[in-house]
Assembly symmetry: D2
Homo-oligomer: 261 residues x 4
């Protein structure tokens, strides 16, 4: 029997009259969707439509909470208290679950977006606030977090089912953090490069850094991007290759057995 | 045994650094709170604090959804499609339920705010969109609607438990609509006047209009206001008098037996 | 000497991470730009970039104020007081002029957007509020208004230089209003059709309605659209044809002589 | 002849239905108003009303730009690029000048708000971006900046008329920064204490730190606060005392002679 693996993508990032990404194409390639909740992208209508499309495609629903920063697309750090972060996560998670419940479904995972995620990968306090909010809402929710991050640690500490992800198109530093976008080679723009990167990490059982080192970690999910035609092509190539060796499945399936996947 | 009656108020209408109303005083006087959900007032933090305070006071939680209009406090009509209205209600209802669930509780009723409510009292399509959204989220949710309104009809049509309310401080027209605020005598500013108005309607078993007519209707709840010291005094007077004759109870208690209260 | 004519387009309608329209292409085809001011589209950064690009292309700057409705792209009517409308127009006009002045230029015209424009074409009070705000800011500003509209009348009443525009791609009713988008044939999708429509109106010296009637009016400007590759192609065809017979010029040139153009 | 001095306060910080501060009382006590521009407080309507009230009271108009953060009242640092900061300042400054021009007046100074100010007092790049935006809009605008701050330096570097202010109710560190609010004694709550603090600094010709040191600097303006009845009382006491020894004047008067005041 093939081992389980999951592909996830950030979806529902249109807003009002503005379109972003090719959600329908991506919903054929990933098994779990991180859906914008109105703070950095996605409005109530976009959220409802994305939830419906994801359910139709058999893709599991995740909340993708952000700092409140529509104009900055949630990519700018905002200095907030832990209490504010908890409230922001609960608000967005609940708001998306509103659409899910209206379709007889449930949000099953949470993955922070943009600057909130970046900060939470380094800052234990922020990571803890996020994990506590998720747990307070429903302790069965899966926290989807970058492997070897402070956020993943916080999930484990709160006994949340924690799915560890790697990025198909991003290089890693020796401390396990993503290479900052400004750096040469931080983002892999080519489908073949991304594919090789992912396969090398799956084979190594850990992050492979741009200095050639291996940082061992379980890997449950691969994050792929869907903005731009090239991104969709990369996702398609990844899906085709990985489907041969893995049972690609929604996140809840990975935790269904009760064992860490 | 005393018959059941409910007092409700709009709470959680602070936003960020701005305070509005004396929520703590009002939570001692009403049994059900209509809590702003961020579209006309109330931010994620205010919502969380209001939910906690309401639960501590034994007050049942209601979502108070609005048009998206913070600067206009949800008092300006916005021409939206039924699809948008459904999405707005689900978003706000879910967002508030996020705070409720994080405290082991649930939102148990929904009452539209401001212009959204005014429009839904007259417009069957709008009223239907609201009722459908509430039902889609959870068919056990109580719709709190002005007696004899199109909104109340929509609740009944969707088989939602529908609580009918009257306003303690507002005069009524002969068609059951509130006298527009611009008109002389539309708003009763005095505690004794409000008290007499409410008692006359409870005694008559219907709305008493400013032309002396009676429009028969069940009355499950009295809406009181809490902005301004006078408003709190009025609420206090109403509470004192009504508590003598009625068992003042949260909305879910009125529907607990399964019979229309 | 060729008579003057102006082509205008709505530009700067991107927001944050979201792109809309091909502004650089359109800036080669129109002589006046209606620039979104942050209420329905356009943020402070987009506005600055659009102003710079327009100035570089020799295109005159217009404010394109809207109801405050980012999620609805300003296309939903919002019931506001005249006082609110005046304040909204002054805010947006000033905000755009901030970018203009920072580049040694000035906003030289104002054209309301979306639902605000539609309402102002029918509603004298709303139209008056807009015209008064424009005049209060600077009585030399040109009001760009649909020909035969209440807005155009209000501009004339306030003695504002008022430029009258027709839409290249929209059919007209016999009362001079645009055929509502819902109706069959309301929007001309084809470059040749648009071209014929414009030429017929210029030849007739008035609006040609879809019932074959002519409503006489001066025509100073043609509004073209730039969202979608087809729209740019239509604008290009219009520009090519009209440039043969007219001196295509920015709006201020049309009023420079002091005579009505 | 008495030397010139200026009192300034942050005004126009109401928003929509929410009131903040006693602007009418404060307008009798200060000579220059820093008016919120819609990013942290103040909407288009509040701005217009505040401008009118200030002009009626003979108080000079200043823009009080902020990070875009209504819910956080502009008190949370937001990591922005210099380009974004310049655009934000131009937008807000222009928007307020819209109301000023509509009343035949002009904004004559700029003072950043909250976290934007705090960051700009320490960060040369941020301070430079603000000063450049102000200068680009109009090189005659006065920059109102805390004495001995990076913001004041940036104003001088850009050759802007730069007014140096001290806070009546805040303690200073030995490096000239405000004692952080969390620290014991950071905020003086008492009118007599504030009065003594201000008089000691005016007498010393510099900031007096909480460790008893003096940091020499010109002082052009005293910032007083107006939220809360106590704050108004403090402002009143300051005004009464300082009016005996100084000619209290709007900021432009201090720079009218062309000499540094």
């Amino acid at each position: 029997m093939k081992p389980h693996l999951n592909l996830n993508a950030d979806l529902g990032e249109s807003f009002g009259a503005w379109r972003m990404g090719d959600d329908l194409a991506m919903l054929q390639l990933v098994q779990s969707a991180n859906i914008a909740c109105g703070f950095h992208a996605g409005d109530a209508l976009v959220m409802r439509q994305t939830v419906k499309a994801a359910l139709q495609a058999g893709v599991s629903l995740g909340a993708h909470p952000s700092y409140p920063d529509l104009q900055g697309f949630g990519r700018r750090a905002l200095k907030c208290s832990a209490e504010e972060i908890e409230a922001f996560v609960l608000y967005q998670l609940g708001a998306l679950d509103g659409s899910a419940r209206a379709n007889g479904a449930r949000v099953t995972h949470v993955k922070p977006h943009g600057a909130l995620s970046n900060e939470a990968c380094r800052d234990q306090d922020l990571a803890g606030a996020i994990a506590r909010a998720v747990k307070a809402y429903d302790a069965r929710l899966i926290l989807l977090a970058p492997a070897l991050s402070a956020l993943a640690e916080a999930g484990a500490r709160e006994n949340l089912p924690t799915a560890l992800e790697i990025y198909a198109d991003r290089a890693y530093e020796d401390d396990g953090q993503l290479t900052p976008r400004g750096e040469e080679g931080a983002v892999l723009r080519d489908a073949q490069q991304s594919l090789a990167h992912v396969e090398s990490m799956l084979a190594a059982g850990g992050l492979t850094t741009r200095f050639g080192n291996i940082l061992p970690t379980p890997i449950h999910s691969i994050c792929v991007h869907g903005d731009g035609p090239e991104a969709v092509a990369t996702a398609r190539a990844l899906h085709a290759r990985l489907a041969q060796r893995f049972a690609l499945a929604p996140l809840p399936s990975l935790f269904a057995s009760g064992e860490t996947p």
